[in-house]
Amino acid sequence: MPCVLVAEPDADVRQLLELTIRRLGYEVATGESSEVDAVLLEPACAAGQSVVRRFGDNGPPVVCFSIYPREEGLAPPASVAYLLKPSSPVAIAEALRDAFGVQPAI
């Protein structure tokens, strides 16, 4: 089952994202040990930035979900989609499906 790592500073939004991921039939990565197939992150927070650093350029596809528009240049190079909050869970689900399509699960 594909596994998605979530890096989001707001607890309520994180809960929403995890719910969306589970409803899609994916798994939510927990801790550093999990095998990660895609990352859903807020690039404008410390957790998001540390995930970007951890995977470097050859990590899993990244879907950005941010309070800042794409033009702010926060998206890491591995981003395959960039969504501005408050995009709907439907849009997030589509972006994640596309992410798996772009790069098959490792």
């Binding site: 929403l16 309070i67 909050k85 408050p86 709907s88 869970p89």
Partner: protein
């Protein structure tokens, strides 16, 4: 000293001199005017024993002489001669005293006028100077001397030369140079744009206006220079605040709208009132979302970060779409809405952005028009431009507020009094988008009669 007073002063001196030779002069002051009386022994030549001659003073100068003569009995000629000599000395002294006093008074009043002028022009924070037609400084105030020293301007030369000398110390020196050259050749009104001193971040704004002679020719210029660093800093803080708010609102908005969407499947389990409450939450969330999007868009437009995707567009088709999307609301309110398009030429424009402008104008028109009213969208061509007129029969905008309707967050009093919801961003965004297309937007309105918004867009040549 005025010319009249100078003439009078010279006349007094001349009379004093005459008095030395001819008689006794008594200077007197009457009703604030200086006069002289001279005992004139030369009248003896005319056959009189004694004469008194005096000056008529009018409008501050000697306008005539008067002479009174008398015959005296038994006065020795020697005594008269002695009296004449003593009197001459006294008269000279008195005359000189008056002359000196006159001079001092005049100097004092001249000095106080000059002091008043200097105090006046020094009392402002703006640097001010007046130049002749060649740009040479005639008068300047202390703030100007301070500001030009801080800007590193040379202390000599004409003002355009001094201004040009600092071009390399400014951000965008080329634009500044061409502006200065433009200014050196023009005789019309001109504002200098703001310019920023590299390194310090200090921002200055210059303004210049011509001084005309009575025939309308250029007699010189008045220049003012003001530091606007603090104003710019306030603008920057306001923009940063608005941007922060619009970004930070996105986090709670994400969970509100996200969980509302999640609830969709569970709505069946709710009672009728529960579903109604949920609708209210949805509508309000949608409004909040639109507000956040508008705030972001206007920040991007002002930072010139919105790029237009230009393509040939049929504006009447876009107008039809905007009208159709608002029609359910209009029908519900009982507002008639129609589009009239005549020979609308094609324009090159950004579909999404122009649609946004049309949506804004049409929804405003419906929003501010009561049931039974009418909204008409008219599209035609005029003077090589495409013209879009959105006219309603709504509540209108007071005349004194019409100049502000395109400002961010401005809301007409007619709208706020009736608690008609809105953010005051729609027209600000519309204007910015229209202007980015090289077009213009204007509003005319009468309270209680309606509002007309006119958009002009350049047509494809």
């Amino acid at each position: 000293m005025s010319l009249a007073r100078r003439r009078f002063f010279l006349t007094s001196v001349a009379l004093c001199g005459l008095a030395v030779l001819w008689g006794v002069m008594i200077a007197f002051q009457w009703a604030g005017k200086l006069g002289t009386i001279t005992l004139a022994p030369w009248v003896a030549l005319l056959g009189f024993d004694l004469g008194v001659v005096g000056g008529f003073v009018g409008a501050g100068s000697m306008v005539g002489l008067w002479l009174v003569t008398a015959d005296l009995q038994g006065t020795a000629l020697d005594n008269v001669q002695i009296a004449v000599r003593v009197g001459s000395m006294v008269a000279l002294g008195v005359g000189a005293g008056f002359a000196g006093r006159l001079l001092r008074e005049s100097e004092r009043s001249q000095r106080s006028v000059a002091m008043l002028q200097t105090a006046l022009i020094d009392s402002t924070l703006d640097g001010i100077c007046l130049t002749d037609e060649h740009g040479e400084i005639l008068i300047s105030n202390r703030p100007l001397r301070r500001l030009s020293a801080e800007l590193g301007m040379p202390q000599s030369g004409s003002v355009p030369e001094r201004l040009l000398a600092i071009a390399d110390r400014l951000a965008e020196p080329e634009r500044y140079r061409s502006r200065m050259q433009e200014l050196a050749t023009t005789t019309g009104e001109a504002t200098l744009d703001e310019f920023e001193l590299v390194g310090s971040g200090r921002v200055f704004r210059g303004y210049t206006t011509p001084v005309r002679d009575p025939n309308g020719g250029l007699a010189g210029r008045v220049w003012t220079l003001r530091e606007v660093t603090a104003d710019r800093e306030l603008d920057r803080m306001r923009d940063a605040f608005v941007a922060t708010v619009s970004h930070e609102l996105r986090t709670p908005l994400t969970s509100i709208s996200g969980f509302l969407e999640m609830m969709h499947d569970e709505e069946e389990g709710l009672g009728e009132s529960g579903r109604r409450y949920l609708d209210v939450i949805r509508r309000s969330t949608q409004r909040l979302h639109l507000l956040v999007e508008d705030l972001l868009l206007i920040a991007q437009i002002e930072a010139k970060r919105v790029e237009l995707q230009l393509e040939p567009l049929d504006i009447s088709e876009l107008a039809e779409r905007s009208v159709e999307s608002i029609r359910p609301t209009a029908d519900e309110k009982g507002v008639a809405i129609s589009v009239v398009a005549e020979h609308a030429p094609a324009v090159r424009a950004d579909r999404a952005r122009i649609s946004q402008v049309l949506d804004n104008l049409v929804s405003n028109a419906v929003k501010f028009t009561d049931g039974g009213g009418e909204v008409r969208v008219q599209i035609d061509a005029e003077d090589g431009e495409l013209r879009i007129v959105v006219a309603d029969t709504g509540i209108g905008i007071p005349e004194e507020e019409q100049g502000q309707v395109f400002s961010r967050f401005f809301r007409a009093s007619t709208a706020t009094q009736q608690a008609i919801p809105g953010t005051g961003l729609g027209l600000a965004i519309s204007r910015a988008l229209v202007e980015q297309h090289g077009g213009r937007i204007a509003v005319s309105s009468r309270v209680g009669e309606g509002t007309r918004v006119t958009v002009a867009l350049p047509t494809t040549p």
